[in-house]
């Protein structure tokens, strides 16, 4: 359900499905083995993004990891708005690819 590559402290992930607890667990398993300072995650295929995903991003953000969320679906913004966290990330940017 996801592909990832790691190069020079950057972890790049392309999700093939949802960004929720099962995916978060897989990402956390990678992070146990790898120190990173940048995360690029393409979530364009996700129909579900839940609070577990937001928790993970928030924790990495507080650990000063530079986060790029590619192609966030509608639900990503919606969840951040509900949790009042939209403008609370220090190191997160979102990019919509054409």
């Amino acid at each position: 359900m996801m592909e990832f590559t790691k190069k020079d402290g950057e972890l790049s992930i392309v999700l093939k499905g949802d960004f929720n607890y099962p995916t978060v667990k897989r990402i956390e398993n990678i992070l146990k083995l790898e120190e990173i300072d940048r995360l690029t995650i393409d979530i364009g295929s996700a129909k579900v993004v839940d609070s577990e995903a937001v928790k993970l991003l928030f924790r990495l953000d507080r650990d000063s990891v530079q986060i790029t969320v590619l192609n966030p679906p509608y639900i990503f913004d919606r969840i951040l708005n509900i949790l009042k966290l939209k403008d609370r990330f220090k190191n997160l940017k979102t990019v919509k690819e054409e």
């Binding site: 949802d18 607890y21 129909k47 609070s51 937001v54 928030f58 509900i82 949790l83 966290l85």
Partner: protein, 480 residues
């Protein structure tokens, strides 16, 4: 249709069940965004159940998906450790200062669905319900006001035919033309919902057209989902075509169709703003069996001056299969009135005495039907258990917290404990409503009711002698 799933508390079940809910949402008329919201709410709920409901133990939980014409409801039921979501309030300040996301999942759920309800059932576990409304186009979005206002002129003759999916738009236009926005069954303003109901066999009916093909009358029976009976629930005759015998023609056809389909009975929920529907029902042999107070919110009925209060309905019942004698456990307080109600339907009622001490199962079998738009709930007691009173208390508490305006409890008359249940409910402020014949699984139920808004009984107009008697008894019990 209802779909039930039993799932183990394993992380592996989250993704496939979330995928299923997403597809189910799309299939039942949600947009991609709405299906995504429903699937995310469901994901939050079952992730919480899988991770926390059973501690470190293995467990199972059930998921029930139910679609109606206007909404999708998912019920998750589990027997895990006690937990109260109301004690886990999300706070963004806690997130920012401590990284504490406690309550975030429930915050997400509440915001992504139209209704979220939690019921703690004691030994019977915990139940969560999430509901998403389906947004179909309203008839006023499909036609201009000018188009909707066109009233068919007088006709030389009328033709009656069974209703089909192609008639949906004409029916919605007819309802709008005759009632404006005041028809209580909102689904009738949405052609998509009419099509869906017909396609899924949820209703059948007739349509009357002029010799020019214009629709001027419609009458349908809505099938009960819980019993082999139907409600004569949707009726309209175009204003200029009233008094021509169209109503009579349609009712006769419907009764014949219902008999041909093997239904055991038909019932009507006749409003008490006026007595016209009650009179029509009486004319066709329907007998009044109950008065349900404040069953739906106030709406203004065109052409009638009436009190601004919630609308009460008389239940009128027409048996389609003969029952000569019924034996039932009759609660002392209502023995007389129940005998009269049955006798009025031509049925002799025999009381079954209870001689031995009653032995109950550990758990009751109780189901809950909530009408979020009407702000009412029907609690159906199918079997009694030792936890009856505590289950009822928990249901009432959850429904009151949700701001329900009317709670109705149906008690089975073929269960001995009903004799004891009545005084228990009376102590909790419930009063008589009446008999609900064959209402659930073809069994007869006694309905008790509790209303949370003040009602002026002078604004509740009843027609039949039996309805008058029922109303008097209710007034007496309520001290009105």
């Amino acid at each position: 249709m209802e779909i039930s799933l039993k799932l183990p508390n394993q992380v592996g079940v989250i993704q496939p069940s979330v995928d299923f809910v997403y597809s189910w949402g799309l299939e039942h008329g949600l947009s991609e965004k709405e299906a995504s919201e429903l699937a995310t709410a469901f994901d939050e709920l079952i992730t919480d159940v899988v991770l926390f409901a059973f501690g470190d133990n293995e467990g199972e939980f059930s998921v029930m998906l139910k679609d109606t014409l206007s909404q999708l409801e998912i019920t998750v039921h589990e027997l895990g450790e006690p937990f109260d979501p109301n004690r886990h309030k999300y706070s963004v300040e806690k997130v920012l200062s401590e990284g504490n996301f406690d309550g975030s999942g429930f915050e997400v759920i509440k915001n992504l669905v139209d209704h979220f309800i939690y019921i703690y059932k004691g030994k019977a576990g915990k139940e969560y319900r999430i509901i998403k409304e389906i947004k179909h186009p309203h008839i006023t979005q499909l036609f201009t006001q000018e188009e909707l206002a066109v009233e068919p002129e007088k006709a030389v003759s009328y033709q009656i035919a069974p209703v089909s999916e192609e008639d949906a738009e004409d029916i919605a236009r007819l309802i709008y033309r005759a009632y404006g926005y005041t028809y209580p069954k909102e689904d009738m303003y949405y052609p998509d919902r009419i099509v869906k109901a017909l396609k899924e066999g949820k209703k059948f009916g007739v349509i009357v057209r002029t010799d020019r093909g214009e629709a001027v009358g419609y009458f349908a029976v809505i099938m009960s989902t819980d019993s082999n009976i139907g409600e004569v629930g949707e009726v309209v005759v175009s204003p200029k075509h009233r008094g021509k015998g169209i109503m009579k023609m349609m009712m006769k056809a419907l009764i014949d169709m219902a008999k041909a389909r093997g239904l055991e009975g038909l019932f009507g929920e006749a409003v008490t703003v006026h007595t016209i529907s009650q009179r029509v029902n009486a004319k066709f042999g329907f007998k009044s069996t109950a008065l349900v107070l404040g069953f739906f919110p106030y709406i203004e009925y065109k052409g009638f001056e009436h009190k601004q209060q919630r609308i009460s309905v008389v239940i009128d019942f027409l048996p389609l299969k003969e029952r000569k004698v019924v034996s039932a456990y009759l609660p002392e307080d209502y023995r007389k009135i129940l005998k009269e109600i049955y006798a009025n339907m031509g049925i002799e009622l025999k009381n079954i005495p209870v001689r031995k001490e009653l032995k109950l199962a550990e758990k009751s079998n109780i189901s809950l039907q909530i009408n979020y738009r009407f702000e009412t709930a029907v609690v159906v007691v199918r079997d009694y258990g030792e936890d009856f009173e505590s289950r009822i208390d928990k249901n009432i508490q959850a429904l009151e917290e949700k701001g329900m305006k009317g709670i109705y409890i149906d008690l089975p008359l073929d269960e001995a404990f009903t004799k004891k249940a009545v005084p228990i409910l009376k102590k909790k402020g419930f009063v008589f409503s009446g008999l609900m014949p064959l209402f659930h699984q073809e069994r007869d139920f006694l309905r008790m009711q509790k209303i949370y808004e003040d009602l002026d009984f002078d604004g509740i107009n009843v027609f039949s002698d039996m309805a008058v008697k029922i109303k008097k008894l209710i007034q007496k019990e309520m001290g009105k």
